[in-house]
Amino acid sequence: MSQNLERALLGLDRAFRPQAKGMAREIDPRAKLLVALTFLIAMLSTPLMDLGRVAAWGIPIMVAAYISRADYFSLVGYSLLLLPFVALIGLFNILYEREVVASLFGIAVTKGWIMALAITLRGIFSVQTILLMVFATGIYPLCGAMLKLRIPTLFVAQTLMIYRFLRVLLIELQEIIFATQARSAGIKRYPLRLWARIISELLIRTIRRARTLDMAMRARGWQGDVPLARQQYVWRWRDTLFLFAWLGVVAVVRFIRL
């Protein structure tokens, strides 16, 4: 529980601004968002039985991680953490698809194994794509890109508002959990009723804060606009080049048999 909260706080701090260095940081957030979406669509449309091609999607991710100077191994580690459900679905394929499609060093390889591997790889790569996009762009610039791509302002404002209050809330939650742990004499599993009390206490504190904030914002004459909307994004030649270069890479991996 405490680990989850600390991980969340750390993630929030890191995701605030772009962490990538060099060229990857300077590219327009819209270009990065479009590349990530195209990459995901192309990867997810690759047939599961084409394992070689599914595995090949890992190469552009490694290149992107290298360009943005991200720690690739921590990316892999984190993406493995989110895999259990995906892996479970893959496991069922091993049990149900028993048709032998290849032989590797004399060992029969079934269709189920190939599908399971492909699903697992897709899971790892899709998580890595999102993490890399946020690493190279940051949440604020991403929200700015969403506004420029005509995502409704109210939705972006709401997403930013949640982001803004998460840190405060997580610290509050940490305090409540710490206080509960201090009183519970080493008991780690709490009954549902106690969890409900913890959540309720957090909710009451949250609402009080929200009401104060609401009054303050109304008093200031806030009309629902987002400061990010006023930020100027200038689309440069290098952004066009970046976009087309990556679209080319995506096309090569998806359509050309190497």
Binding site: L48, M161, R197
Partner: protein
């Protein structure tokens, strides 16, 4: 319940994105018309649900754990569209911050978690049963029924999306058998947790649940129970044992084998009639549960109409 990009194909993901985007546009239009809803309140409640989703609670007797979705809770304070809007932005932020749920699968996740809980379970099950001054049992019933409905529909949707994407070789029925019971248990836990949170919060700040409160009519309450009964009937039949029932078991034990029908003309014609008239010959399915429930509800409704008509007629 967060679906990863790996579990959906591009066409399924994009179709779900289109549906979710449409619902989002409608929700924005609805929210913009509501003067009393404030963005900071929605934002902070969204942050609360985000934080609350990090608390995993143990599911009794299963050894697994689950977390709240918060759709019913959000809707009870912000209304159906406000809840959907807020929960969708929570899902987007979870995807961006922790890669929890895929980027392309955002639409699937918004439908599975936000739409079913805020736009289906809340207005059809929770709202007709709940009032700002409802007693403990009623709040608990409303929360549990609504949460079970939302989770069951969500689990069915996850199964359908995965199957339509051609990702899983597991047959649809078996995957439902795997998914629905787990989510039923989580749904019950979420319902209980939501009820406690609502009760505790209401005792401290009753105004929060006063928005669009209307006197629930008897019809709305009946509708709510009907929807919940249909969903629960469909899901609990999946839990039904394939073993013979008590009577079959005792007959098998007595006769040391399965009971065979004598081949008299009377028996064979009776069997034929049953086969021709049976709506669902293989009755051990979720569909049988739904149809049986629907027929019962229809019969009860017709019966009540007849009684009402008889009562209203002036006695000569």
């Amino acid at each position: 319940m967060h679906m990863s990009d790996a579990l959906v194909s591009a066409p399924v993901a994009l179709s779900a994105d289109a549906v979710a985007a449409t619902l989002l546009v409608v929700s924005i239009a609805k929210i913009s018309r509501q003067k009393q809803l404030s963005i900071p309140l929605m934002g902070v409640l969204g942050a609360f649900v985000f934080a609350a989703q990090m608390i995993n609670f143990a599911i009794p007797a299963t050894g697994s754990s689950g977390h709240v979705i918060g759709g019913i809770l959000l809707s009870s304070m912000l209304g159906a569209w406000g809840g959907f809007f807020t929960l969708t932005s929570v899902i987007v932020l979870q995807c961006l911050l922790f890669a929890d749920g895929g980027l392309l699968a955002l639409g699937c996740n918004a439908i599975n978690m936000a739409a079913f809980s805020c736009l289906v379970a809340y207005p059809l099950v929770f709202k007709p049963l709940f009032r700002a001054d409802s007693p403990f049992k009623r709040v608990m019933t409303a929360s549990v029924l609504a949460s079970v409905t939302a989770f069951t529909l969500g689990a069915v949707a996850v199964t359908l999306e995965t199957t339509l994407s051609g990702i899983s070789a597991l047959p649809l029925g078996r995957m439902l058998l795997f998914m629905v019971p787990i989510h039923l248990i989580i749904g019950i836990c979420e319902g209980v947790a939501t009820a406690f949170v609502i009760l505790f919060t209401r005792s401290r700040d009753p105004e929060l649940f006063m928005h669009d409160q209307e006197q629930p009519s008897r019809h709305r309450t009946i509708e709510a129970f009907a929807v919940a009964a249909l969903v629960i009937a469909a899901s609990f039949t999946l839990l039904a044992s394939s073993a013979p029932d008590g009577l079959e078991w005792s007959v098998e034990r007595t006769l040391q084998g399965e009971l065979t029908l004598p081949s008299t003309p009377l028996h064979s014609s009776a069997e034929q009639i049953v086969e021709q008239t049976a709506l669902i010959p293989d009755y051990n399915t979720a569909l049988a549960g739904v149809i049986g429930c629907a027929v019962l509800i229809l019969l009860a409704w017709i019966f009540s109409l007849v009684i009402k008509q008889n009562r209203d007629e002036p006695k000569s």
